[in-house]
Symmetry: C2
Subunit: 226 residues, 2 copies
DNA sequence: GTATGATTCAAACGGTCGTTTGAATGAACT
DNA sequence: AGTTCATTCAAACGACCGTTTGAATCATAC
């Protein structure tokens, strides 16, 4: 049968494994976390992980898919609203930016959606993880990127296509760093910044990104002789 | 004796190990790279790694120290020049930004300094690596951060201290992402962007960061009722 | 030559890894 | 009751891990 929990507030074995894996992957990385540590923390038998997911790689993919699918849906739904409000005119740039980054940071507030464990995981995937995992994440991510690139192109018609993608890369990088290394930011600022408060992050990040995206890009100067 | 190579263009065992380690760490991560793989690629005996460096952790630290010390020196030297040119007035914001990011990207051009292997490694360290390695990198990095934070404060006196650190975090994040994931950027932009050309990166990144840093930050709106 | 000290080498140490196996368990259906 | 099928379990598989050992090797100083 399709596994249905007998009790409503009793997690299934799959969920227990996914939760433990998410928490440990976020703390120790993918290579740094063993299947034994996951099943041990989940309180299930070692073989259960391979029985339900097949392999460690597939388990990693399942951890991402569980959170990423709703996240991308949320992003695209918000983008649709911004684009609909714009009609045939230019969409609101700040609205497009918020539609992209706010769903990710909002997850910090909802422990039942992974809390900041998954937030840190998302930051990790850009630097760590094997090709298989990356391709799964990128597959879910690329259509979002394309949709947002189109929206930004309409909001900033004076920019060329490569310029749009460059600015999106800077946007993604800023977001990923805040999500992946909140500790480093808090320590570097000696506690002046609180990277785990979504409202504070948004209030600081949105003006930065909005102005950065609006910045005109001078043509590349000819190579200097040397 | 203090190890001196008998021939000038003949790498010592330490250098061979460091080179191989740097390359493999950048490609497969720290946990994903075994000491055996390193010594095998370097063409030296397995035990040589522990003989010369003591442990894998210490080897990782040596890999970073070799590149990071000159890099931080370069950054601070350039910052000194900008601050000296400013005298008692406001330092040039774009100059401060270039002093921070250009030395890192310039390394891409010089294979003898690690090429883009070390560039990718630097991006990795923010998300991966154990506490010991992080503390070594942060120790070298923190004084640079503090110096640049002071310079930015003088260039942007209207911003508060936390705002300065927030904007620096976004700056570091953008830079780290471009360095760590050039492949993702090239693929996502379908080849429109070339993240391995320092001149292209700088020409796109500097206007973005300059405008983002200049952006005024509105006070945090009171929490909305919901 | 011989002695010395740094370096290299093959081999092994105990552990942990991802994965597989085959029997035990339990609930659902006839 | 007996049958079926999904799930759990303890145990083991071979492979690889970081590290250590002790003898072989080499250049140098006497």
């Amino acid at each position: 049968m399709t596994t249905a929990s007998s009790s409503a507030h009793e997690r299934t074995t799959q969920e227990r494994i996914l939760d433990a894996a998410e928490r440990l992957f976020a703390r120790d990385g993918f290579d740094g976390t063993s299947v034994r540590a996951i099943t041990s923390k989940a309180g299930v038998n070692l073989a259960a992980a391979h029985y339900h997911f097949g392999s460690k790689e597939a388990l990693i993919r399942a951890v991402f898919a569980r959170r990423l699918v709703p996240l991308e849906e949320d992003r695209l739904k918000r983008l649709d609203a911004v684009m609909e409000a714009a009609g045939d005119g230019q969409p609101d740039l700040e609205g497009v930016i918020r539609a992209f980054i706010e769903p990710a940071f909002k997850i910090c507030l909802k422990p039942e959606q992974g809390g900041r464990r998954f937030t840190r995981l998302m930051g990790r995937v850009h630097a760590e993880s094997g090709e298989q995992v990356k391709s799964v994440v990128n597959q879910l991510f690329s259509q979002t990127i394309q949709r947002f690139a189109g929206a930004l192109q309409r909001a900033l018609p004076q920019l060329s296509r490569p310029q749009i993608f460059w600015k999106m890369s800077f946007l993604v990088g800023s977001m990923a760093f805040v999500m992946a290394s909140p500790d480093a930011i808090a320590r570097g600022s000696q506690g002046a910044c609180n990277p785990l408060d979504p409202r504070e992050v948004m209030s600081q990040m949105v003006p930065f990104l909005t102005q950065g995206l609006r910045a005109p890009v001078p043509p590349l100067a000819p190579k200097e002789a040397s």
